[in-house]
Symmetry: C2
Subunit: 311 residues, 2 copies
C-alpha cells in the first residue's frame, strides 16, 4: 500500500517541499533554494535530489510513493508542459516528464495559484466544497478556480486571472498588464495604498495615516481604530473588490470564496467591508456564495501540489 | 449495440424532441405542446408517450436506446433535480427519476442554456473545442460554459449567468434582475433598442432609424447600410458586449465564444464591432479566445440534451 505523496511549490527564491499522507496529514516540510542560473536548468535535478535524500533518510521506497505534485509560477498545460515561467528562467519545457524520468515516480504539475487553490479546498478554508474561488490579495491579485473539485486551467492556463477584470473606465494609472482599471489596481496591497494616498491628497481630514507610513497593514489597522478617512478607504476598497468578485460569481457561481494573501491578514473586517458591495452587484441566483479566509498561508501550494497527484 | 439517443428541449410553449445516433447524426425531430396546466404535471408523461410512440413507429426497442437527455428552463442539480422552472409551473422535482420510472430508460437532465451550449460544442460552432462559452443574445442575455468538455453548473445552477455582470455604475434603468447596469441591459435585443432610442433622442442626426420601427434587426440592417447613427449604436453595443465577455474570459479563459440568439442573426458584423473592445479590456493571457456564430439555432437544445446522455 502506497503511503506517501510529495507536494512541491517552486517559487522564485525557494522551493518548498512537503511530505504528506494520502489523507493530507503533513509529515514534514522543508525548503531548498531555487537555483535560477543557466535558465533554471538545475531546479528539477535539485528537487529530485532533495526528495531522494528525504526518502533515504526515512527509509521510504519508490514504491511507497504515490507521486510528486509540482506547483509552478506560470501557465501549465494539462500534460505537464510549462509554457513559460519567467521567474525561474524557464521557457517551454515538460517538467513533469523531466522529473519523473530522473526519479521514476509519477509527477503532476500545475500553475502555482491554481494549485494553492486546490490546497485550500483540500485542507484549508474551502474544505468540504467542490466549487471554490481562491482569491489572493498580495502584491497583485491572483485567483484559482476549482469546479467540481478540479482546477479550472482554461485554454491557455490563464483561468482564474481575476485580477485583470476591468472595473473602472475612468482610471488613468496603468496596470502591470498594460490595461486601465483592473481589479488588481485597487484590491492588491499597492491598490490599498493607492486609494489611501488619493484620499489623503483630496482632503485635509485628520487621520492616523498622516503620521505613519501608508501600507495595507497601516490602513486596515487604522480602520480597526475607527479612523474616519481609513474607513472611507476601506469602503472604496470593498466596493471594487465586491464588484470584481460579483462578476466572478456571475460566471462560475461558486459555493465559497477563500480569501488569502498579505492583505487578507487584516482579517474578517476585509470581508465585512466587501460583502455588501458584492451582494449589491451579484446576480441574485449566485448571491449565496460564502466568504472565508484562507487557512494554509504559504503552505497552500505544497498541500495543493500533493492533492494534484491524488486526483 | 445501442443505437439511439433522444434529446428533449422542454420549453414554455413546445417540447422539442430529437432522435440521434450516438455520433450526433439527427434521425428525426418533432415537437409536442407543453401542457402547463396542473403545475405542469402532464409534461413528463407527455414526453414519455411521445417517445414511446416514436419507438413503436420505428421498431426501436428499449434496449436499443442509450438514454434520454432533458434540457429544462431552470436550475438543475447534478442528480437531475430541478429546483424551479417557473415557465413550466414546476417547483422542485426530480424529473430524471420521474421520466425514467415511466419509460425504463436512463435519463439525464440539465439547464437548457447549459445544455444548448453543450450542443454547440458537440455539433455546432464550438466543435473541436473543450473550453467554450456560449452566449445567447436574445430577449435577455444568457450563457452556458463548458470546461474540459463538461457543463459548468456552479453551486446552485447559476453558472454562466453572464447577462448580469455589472458593467455601468451610471445606469438608471433597472434590469429584470433588480440590478442596474447589467450586460443584459445593453447586449440583449431590448438593449440594442434602448441604446438606439437614446442616441436618436440625443441628436438630430438623420438616420434610417427615424423612419422605421427600431428593433435589433433594423439597427443592424442600418449599420450594414452605413447609417452613421446606427454605427454609433453598434459601437456602444460592441463596447458593452466586449467588456462583458472580457470579464468572462478573464475568469474562465475559453478557447472560443459561440454567439447565438436572435441578435446574432446580424451575423459576423456583430463580432466585428465587439472584438476590438474585447481585446482592449481582456487580460493579455486570455486574449487568444476565438469568436464564432452559433450554428444549430433552436436545435442546439436537443443536440446538447442528447450529448448529456453520452457524457
Amino acid at each position: 500500500m502506497k503511503k506517501y505523496v510529495f507536494g512541491v511549490d517552486v517559487g522564485g527564491t525557494t522551493v518548498k517541499i512537503g511530505l504528506f499522507s494520502p489523507e493530507g496529514e503533513i509529515r514534514e516540510k522543508w525548503e531548498i533554494p531555487t537555483r535560477k542560473e543557466d535558465n533554471g536548468d538545475h531546479i528539477i535535478a535539485d528537487i529530485a535530489e532533495s526528495i531522494k535524500d528525504k526518502m533515504n533518510a526515512h527509509g521510504i521506497d519508490r514504491t511507497d510513493v504515490i507521486g510528486i505534485g509540482l506547483g509552478v509560477p506560470g501557465p501549465v498545460k494539462e500534460d505537464g508542459t510549462v509554457l513559460l515561467a519567467a521567474n525561474l528562467g524557464w521557457g517551454k519545457r515538460n517538467i513533469s516528464m523531466e522529473l519523473s524520468d530522473i526519479i521514476k515516480i509519477p509527477v503532476m504539475a500545475g500553475n502555482d495559484a491554481n494549485v494553492a487553490a486546490l490546497g485550500e479546498m483540500w485542507r484549508g478554508g474551502g474544505r468540504g466544497y467542490k466549487n471554490m474561488v481562491a482569491v489572493t490579495l498580495g502584491t497583485g491579485v491572483g485567483g484559482g478556480i476549482i469546479i467540481g473539485g478540479k482546477i479550472l486551467s482554461g485554454a491557455t492556463g490563464a483561468g482564474g486571472e481575476i485580477g485583470h477584470i476591468h472595473l473602472d473606465d475612468n482610471e488613468t494609472d496603468t496596470c502591470g498588464c498594460g490595461g486601465h482599471g483592473c481589479l488588481e489596481q485597487y484590491a492588491s496591497a499597492t491598490g490599498v495604498v493607492r486609494i489611501a494616498n488619493k484620499k489623503l491628497a483630496q482632503t485635509d481630514k485628520p487621520s492616523i495615516l498622516r503620521d505613519t507610513e501608508v501600507s495595507a497593514k497601516s490602513v486596515w489597522d487604522a480602520v480597526k481604530e475607527g479612523d474616519e478617512l481609513a474607513i472611507e478607504v476601506a469602503n472604496v476598497y470593498g466596493e471594487y473588490l465586491g464588484k470584481g468578485l460579483a462578476a466572478v460569481a456571475d460566471v462560475v457561481n461558486p459555493d465559497i470564496f477563500v480569501i488569502g494573501g498579505g492583505v487578507s491578514k487584516a482579517g474578517d473586517i476585509l470581508i465585512d467591508y466587501m460583502k455588501p458591495h458584492f451582494e449589491k452587484y451579484v446576480f441574485p441566483g449566485a448571491k449565496g456564495a460564502k466568504f472565508t479566509l484562507a487557512l494554509l498561508g504559504n503552505d497552500a501550494g505544497i498541500y495543493g501540489a500533493a492533492k494534484l497527484v491524488l486526483e
